[in-house]
């Protein structure tokens, strides 16, 4: 089996429009959570979110073409452009058919659907002819293939909040096993349309103020949006062409709780973490940092803590565990990809991003959650957790480059 290098990162989220901006915010513990700019904010019980701010599609897309692309797919394409540019990879005729594009998205183009169905039911009774291709969940993957001439196996995974960890993990396995010679993998989401927000509100899991993962007074999640993409290629190929190896993907584990639609189990997440460690052929004691799922809901954080304790035993007290959702919000199908970028940067810069907005410890979440201030630490291996509604769990293991 081949080792798999990450040679490019791209990101856009509430913390910035590229990886550098996002990382600067993460390392300084600056949250992107703020009052929603959405016009219909007064129709919502919660008022804050982690929106991408100052985004002008005309700066990135031809104005006619932009009208054909939903916000979630624009984000996917932007982050892919950044990652591919950084990697320096060239999709030559020999490579393009041996490259995969694997994206994750939970909502797909729901913003487009929301707006068009409002027209249909409430106004003109008509639907725009591009609604289907704009709203399809694979639009991001398809547009990346088209822009870069990638003709290999490409698809989109939808496993709610685990979508992009599943996408990156599957792409990693394809590269490791020689099914492809390169992959662009990640996820994207555009969360802030009224229908989607009201549906989240009705679930009663969104915080009325901010996201405080692992804090005693946490009140729920804060929704986010954005995208992140990674360029993956065999370590040997990356070295041969002189590319900088930012980190390695070394393991992937997934599991299903087979329990409840929304209440997480301890066993399912624990099994996914154990599988990722086994897949990486590393001992639990090798792990120095976990980028937690850490949604900040009353139920997720203690359950995740118990799962980590079950897998790591005494080593759980020597691990740093933080939730960067406290800063970039919960970007649903893009969450795992944004957190992969956070984890790779943490390994690379030897700085562990904090859990922001932390107020007081909860005895049920008694881990070192890196409260409020980043920790300087040279870590060799890290995990990144994603656990979805529906009980579908996906965990990635990374190694410093």
């Amino acid at each position: 089996m081949r080792r798999v290098a990450i040679t490019g990162l791209g990101a856009i989220c509430a913390l910035g429009h590229n990886t550098r901006e996002m990382w600067e915010a993460l390392r300084s513990g600056r949250s992107g959570i703020a009052p929603l700019q959405l016009a219909q904010r007064s129709q919502l019980r919660f008022q804050n979110g982690a929106e991408v701010r100052g985004y002008e599609e005309a700066r990135h897309f031809d104005p006619v073409r932009a009208g054909f692309i939903d916000r979630f797919a624009q984000f996917a394409l932007l982050s892919a452009r950044e990652a591919i540019t950084q990697s320096g990879i060239q999709f030559t005729p020999g490579l393009s058919g041996r490259t995969a594009v694997v994206t994750g998205s939970s909502l797909g183009g729901k913003q487009t659907e929301d707006a068009q169905f409002l027209e249909l039911y409430g106004k003109q009774g008509r639907v725009h002819p591009l609604t289907i291709p704009k709203a399809m969940a694979n639009a991001g993957a398809s547009l990346i293939c088209m822009e870069f001439g990638v003709t290999g196996p490409s698809y989109t995974v939808a496993t709610a909040c685990s979508s992009s960890n599943h996408a990156i993990g599957l792409a990693f396995w394809m590269v490791r096993n020689g099914m492809v010679e390169a992959a662009i993998a990640g996820g994207s989401e555009a969360t802030f349309s009224l229908g989607t927000l009201r549906a989240w509100e009705a679930m009663r899991v969104v915080s009325p103020d901010t996201c405080r993962p692992f804090s005693r007074d946490r009140k729920g999640m804060i929704l986010g949006e954005g995208a992140a993409m990674l360029v993956l290629e065999p370590l040997e190929a990356a070295r041969a062409r002189g590319a900088a190896v930012l980190a390695e993907v070394v393991g992937f584990g997934m599991s299903s709780d087979a329990g409840h639609l929304t209440n997480p189990s301890v066993e399912g997440p624990a099994q996914a973490m154990r599988s990722a460690l086994q897949d990486a052929c590393i001992a639990p004691e090798s792990i120095g940092y976990i980028n937690a799922h850490g949604t900040g809901t009353p139920i997720n954080d203690p359950v995740e803590t118990r799962a980590i304790r079950q897998v790591f035993g005494a080593h759980a007290d020597r691990l740093a565990v933080s939730s960067t959702k406290s800063m970039h919000g919960h970007a649903l199908g893009a969450a795992g990809a944004l957190e992969a970028v956070a984890t790779v940067m943490a390994l690379r810069e030897a700085v562990l991003p904090p859990t922001a907005n932390f107020t007081a410890p909860d005895p049920q979440c008694d881990l070192d959650v890196v409260p409020n201030e980043a920790q300087a630490a040279q870590v060799e291996y890290a995990l990144s957790n994603s656990f979805a509604f529906g009980g579908l769990n996906a965990v990635l293991a990374f190694r410093r480059g």
Binding site: R30, I33, P35, L44, R45, Q47, R204, T210
Partner: protein, 103 residues
């Protein structure tokens, strides 16, 4: 509390959960009845529709039995909270410009 209010709440819970009305008493806890968190949200949604009220999240979290539900509905009806999710249901402090920022 007016008996007809309790009766309306009990019958809403019975019809939402497809359980015989006679199985429910004011003292039944949701856990005893086998209702989980999704069932509870479903019941609260039905109560909001029936009584044209909006049950705030913090009040919703405190409801774990039939009596809580009746009391909660009664209190909201007394306060006459509108059901359109308008900002009057969230305290102004929640929407203060800096409320969500890191301190």
């Amino acid at each position: 509390m007016p008996d007809n209010l309790s009766e309306r709440v009990l019958s809403i819970i019975a019809s939402t959960q497809r359980v015989p009305r006679e199985k429910l008493t004011l003292d039944s806890s949701f856990a005893e009845l086998g209702f989980d968190s999704l069932d509870a949200m479903n019941i609260l949604f039905a109560l909001e529709s029936e009584f044209n009220i909006s049950i705030p999240d913090h009040a919703a979290r405190a409801i774990s039995n039939v009596r809580d539900a009746v009391n909660g509905v009664e209190q909201l009806l007394r306060e006459q909270v509108p059901a359109d999710g308008s900002s009057s249901t969230s305290p102004p402090s929640n929407s203060a410009p800096e409320a969500g920022r890191t301190t």
